[in-house]
Symmetry: C2
Subunit: 330 residues, 2 copies
Amino acid sequence: MSPRKRATITDVARAAGVAASTVSRSFTNPDRVNVTTREHVLEIAAELGYTPNPMARALESGRTNTFALLVPDITNPYFAGIINGAERSAAAAGRTLVIGNTKESAATEQHLVKRLGPAVDGFVLAASRLPDDDLRKAAELNAVTLVNRATRGVSCVVADYASGTRQIVDHLASLGHRSLLVLGGPPESWSGARRWAGLQAAAELHEMKVRRFGPYSPTLSGGPAAADAALAAGATAVICHNDMLAIGVLRRLQERGVSVPEQVSVVGFDDMFGSAICTPTLTTLAERTADAGAQAIEMLGRLAYERVAEPDSLVLPTHLVVRGSTGQVA
Amino acid sequence: MSPRKRATITDVARAAGVAASTVSRSFTNPDRVNVTTREHVLEIAAELGYTPNPMARALESGRTNTFALLVPDITNPYFAGIINGAERSAAAAGRTLVIGNTKESAATEQHLVKRLGPAVDGFVLAASRLPDDDLRKAAELNAVTLVNRATRGVSCVVADYASGTRQIVDHLASLGHRSLLVLGGPPESWSGARRWAGLQAAAELHEMKVRRFGPYSPTLSGGPAAADAALAAGATAVICHNDMLAIGVLRRLQERGVSVPEQVSVVGFDDMFGSAICTPTLTTLAERTADAGAQAIEMLGRLAYERVAEPDSLVLPTHLVVRGSTGQVA
DNA sequence: CATCACATGACAAACGTTTGCCATTCTTTG
DNA sequence: CAAAGAATGGCAAACGTTTGTCATGTGATG
């Protein structure tokens, strides 16, 4: 039961009749060693089931070949998309990915960055709740890439909310809606702020009125309060901070006998898993979450290993998925 | 941008005017050093922002304080529950958790176990696709705990499918159904086998007929083929390998104009996120996934650090959540 | 007052790698 | 054929810790 002793580089060296350095080079610097020697070494290594100890390797080289991905809510399917893309990209590059859950808390996030810092080569911070200053400080000590968050001097991958919000407003306007109600999420949410800004700008183009309520918890349980407030305000079109909240709103509206989209149109953000199977199906702004995760990891690789000095920033397109929750105004 | 140099134990020692060993012991073995010395050391350490390098620590002690959790499909909300519980438990114990995605492939799983092996203190393998032999081999080299999989000599946490399947069949019988159709998942799935065995036994108690079709992909896209087969067979009650497949089936049935539950009742397994919001809402067997993840991590801790020799096994209760997808037989 | 035990801190050896440097051998070139 | 240069392998130092062992100083005990 207790872990058996693994073969070390010295074991391989002894068995192969060469020096440890030769074994090491056979793996990491193949050209540096004669081809026949190398083949012999590799054969012996395979025989002994030798795997280089990543700890020892990291200690010497200072590289752990590991990245950490921190998300606010690991159970939210939206982040599952980012995790998926990041995991795929990291695995393809032969790197290990550590997932951390910050539970929507800046303090937890800060703590994880500090604790994981020395053990990883860099961080992807998705929808970080950290203040700008802390973010920059973190970026000084580690390689950092942000997803759906931006601040001066730090690399990031963000969704094109300017276009996305315009798509939403265009769609609602074309259905005859003349005013919009935004049901907002956490105040620290950068994407929430960008969405709000985009919606305001787009509404202005159409000369529509737009108000914002909230903040509401960006979860199913935030739905009832948000829905009730929307009803009380007599809204015909509500735009929710994310799909989780939107689905919570849909459920509450159904509970209260309000029909969607006949009486109220509902729009979400994220197009997460679940938005296509709820009733009615949800009209929502889709992001390329898997892409975002993958790109963030790639960016991080350049940052961490190629000493790219300039912070990079990447904007990914968004597109509106029109489903059953939006319709012509009554 | 390039990671600044972190303070090492030697830096702290020099600044505090003591030996490195004293600094080390101040952290790991506080009783071994005078209280005033220790406080001084800790103060200096905090001042310098010193964090022990986990790599170096692991190298010496052989403990990485890290566990790996491998799941077949990271995007499946069912596993999100397990991940969530495991993450919470690991974080509470001050351990790092690495998440790996095996993509339903035994080869990928094997590869990850080999690659991550030297870097972690143990594995939680959720719904492992590995053959029993490989599983035992892995358990010889590493501390291993299984979730929803069992094999002789390896610790595990499993759901009570014997009770669960009886609950399902009792429910369907009470609605007047006289025969059941099971839409199976991957043949390597241990839980699939247990579910099938349980359903057969329970059906026998009620003198009901039960057949199994498949295998189908345990994803939304497995739905159409499964649903079509069920319709062709004239089934009145279908039990799907998991909720993903069940929802796929629901969608296909709707497409084909078959009303659920009036014409066909549908049952799933997992009670994953989404099963409560689809239409109709899905009757499904709920597991304590978060519990399972947390317990698996705790078990693994005992196995890895307390040299518990005896493999342990834990059965978690299940309960049927009756929703809109099951009804009286026509 | 001498002895003993114990508390405390320092020294140094590991842990498993990588890598700079040197020594040897082989190949090339004039 | 000699000299220069390239290819190849070994030695040893480093990476940042932990931990066994030893030396010192303190207080207690007889």
